[in-house]
Symmetry: C2
Subunit: 399 residues, 2 copies
């Protein structure tokens, strides 16, 4: 008794790439190949732009070895886009999907992509179409509501923790003040993950500034001076999104570029790090002050992924396809099971529950001093990044 | 018939850290433990500064497991320094070494460290002392004369190649112009190594600018426009040390800090990348232009080392100790054996042959266009970085 496909599937990737977004794509495609109700499997190039331009490739015809190689490769294999569809775009997206007999639509991305998926689904409902719309979560920022954490975060957090681990050793060898700027527009999870670099009491990062707390330049300089006078060095990690008590990003003073979702360009510039280094040089009178901005390396470094993250990223892709067989729309959320050892489960949630608004680092993860994280955050983040390299140190045996 | 030690040994690390400088330290210490003519093994903290301050630790008493953990850890475990000794410093260094009955002195570092070792040895000869002075090579810049390549380069080159590999995928997903700034004051080897990121014809980096060729802003913008109009994106890698036709570093316009060797601070700032990105935005009228400066991650990222590099770094440490049993002074140079498969040998060379002056990327490794490297460079660099991750790509099967 063979089941006839009730339509084709289209999948696309959106927003900033991650180290595991392709694992989600491949998870969805491999699951879709098993589903008899799904006919052809289309991939749109560069998100909804590819739908609008009918720029599609056939994902059902890719070999397993190609798909597996893609799953292990960072960045978005279908290409990405930062575009919020207008009402007019939506009408055209329907025309295209109808023309291609698409019954199942999947969009991998963050909260902006969930919003796009939601808008498209609302339009489908209004038009009386039976198009099924699912969002597949992805964001290194870890800022999607409903989720314990999001695919992409663990791997980016792994990069940040390892980079700070090495950089702290560098700053120990040639002591000074080192400032590292980490991605995270409104949510400081990735910046907070730098705390995983610590293995011994005097290890950096010594100061961590998240966008969840107002940033005050004078307090920052005083914090740095205090650590520096105690240790003769200071390792600082700040989020690119740090903002003053009025909510104005520190970086906004010198950045003008804005995308169609209203997001200011923060990454791809070293200006914030240089500004903060200048502050310390001028006000704290410390001569060796350096700043590095980790930039796009955090989200696209090859072979750096966290195994847990890669596994879960694939799973959310699979689960989205399975859910679409049952319900007309939704997103897949990752929930952490209670218990001493880490394990996760996956649950379909309404699109509206993850779209638009973002999640922030909860208060219990931020130290009262506003310049560090708490042990509760470390316990939360540790299982997501996987085991980190062991750092050797000479014993201070006096000669 | 037991041999009595004829004196103690002192070893120190200098200059910028690397991912494998500790492998050299451990190679020397383990070899020294075998040498009956060597008594105690001192490590000076922060290079010659540690000798001047008598800030020493006992390396002979470190356990094998501690030493092996340190060998696999990036940065300089003894701490480092950027200091050129004055004549007065030299006098005091002798006093300290004599007081500690040091007969064997080893200094791990680049050409500045070779110069320091040379000055100390010349003073020893003048003073009629039988102090043996050896330089152990280390520099991610790969700019030591007499050497086919230097310990530290292969691992840093591996980081740069992988970072550009991932970043090129990122720039393919969200197309624009991406500029990556790589370390290398006068020698462009590390920047050139970014070419190893290419695995397919349209892969970046599409443009590579080395300090060995004068940098011209107009030509740079024209080069970028040409690639961008062909591919719709462009991945550029530039050395932090690029300079105009008068030899003035492009970065010199906004950087003022200078160390005691007369070197201008180039790293630890994103200003050069931002300046170049600004040029492309303004002159080429391309809107999405981003710059990242790889900074200290290139030299201190944990667990990123090239296996060949780590092995050779340990070997030069061993060889320096062996050579010091035979000759009063020198440096260990790495030579490549002729043949189809890569292998290296090690040779003692005079300190004066590696001190002070640096080596540059030879003409046969630089493309005539002055914005790329040649296949001969790829053949030279490939065995030094080790195997790179495989990059998967979807086949463009039209839907």
């Amino acid at each position: 008794m063979s089941v006839k496909p009730d339509g084709n599937m289209l999948i696309a990737q959106s927003g900033g790439p991650s180290m595991v977004i392709n694992a989600s794509l491949v998870g969805a495609v491999i699951e879709a190949k098993k589903q008899k109700r799904i006919g052809r499997i289309f991939g749109a190039l560069h998100g909804i732009k590819g739908i609008l331009d009918d720029n599609l490739i056939d994902l059902g015809k890719q070999s397993t070895s190609t798909l597996e190689a893609v799953a292990a490769t960072p960045s978005s294999a279908l290409g990405s886009v930062r575009k919020k569809p207008t009402a007019e775009d939506c009408t055209r997206i329907f025309e295209q999907l109808r023309k291609r007999d698409v019954r199942y639509f999947f969009y991998i991305g963050g909260n902006d992509s969930a919003e796009t998926t939601h808008i498209i689904h609302q339009e489908a409902v209004r038009a009386g179409s039976d198009l099924r719309c699912f969002h597949i979560p992805k964001t290194i920022d870890n800022d999607l509501r409903e989720n314990d954490h999001t695919p992409g975060f663990g791997s980016a957090a792994r990069f940040v923790a390892m980079a700070v681990m090495g950089d702290d050793l560098d700053n120990r060898a040639l002591p000074g003040v080192k400032i590292d700027v980490v991605m995270g527009r409104h949510a400081g999870f990735l910046t907070a993950a730098s705390a995983l670099a610590r293995t011994r009491p005097d290890d950096g990062p010594h100061l961590i500034y998240l966008p969840e707390r107002p940033f005050n330049a004078d307090r920052f300089v005083a914090d740095v001076q205090k650590v520096y006078s105690r240790l003769g060095r200071c390792m600082v990690v700040v989020s690119e999104g740090i903002a003053d008590d009025k909510g104005t990003p520190v970086a906004a003073t010198f950045i003008k570029e804005v995308d169609s979702h209203g997001n200011v360009q923060l990454s791809g510039s070293g200006a914030l790090g240089d500004l903060l280094a200048g502050l310390v040089k001028d006000k704290a009178k410390i001569s060796r002050v350096r700043a590095d901005t980790f930039g796009y390396l955090q989200r696209s470094f090859p072979a750096m992924f966290s195994p847990v993250d890669a596994r879960e990223a694939r799973k959310v892709g699979q689960e989205a396809v399975k859910s679409a067989m049952k319900t007309p729309s939704g997103s897949i959320a990752i929930r952490r099971k209670p218990g001493r050892t880490y394990s996760a489960c996956f649950e379909a949630v309404p699109l509206s529950a993850v779209a638009r608004e973002t999640r922030h680092v909860p208060d219990e993860y931020i130290a009262k001093s506003a310049n560090d994280v708490t042990p509760a955050f470390i316990a939360y983040a540790k299982p997501l990044v996987g085991p980190l390299p062991k750092i050797g140190r000479l014993n201070a045996i006096k000669a």
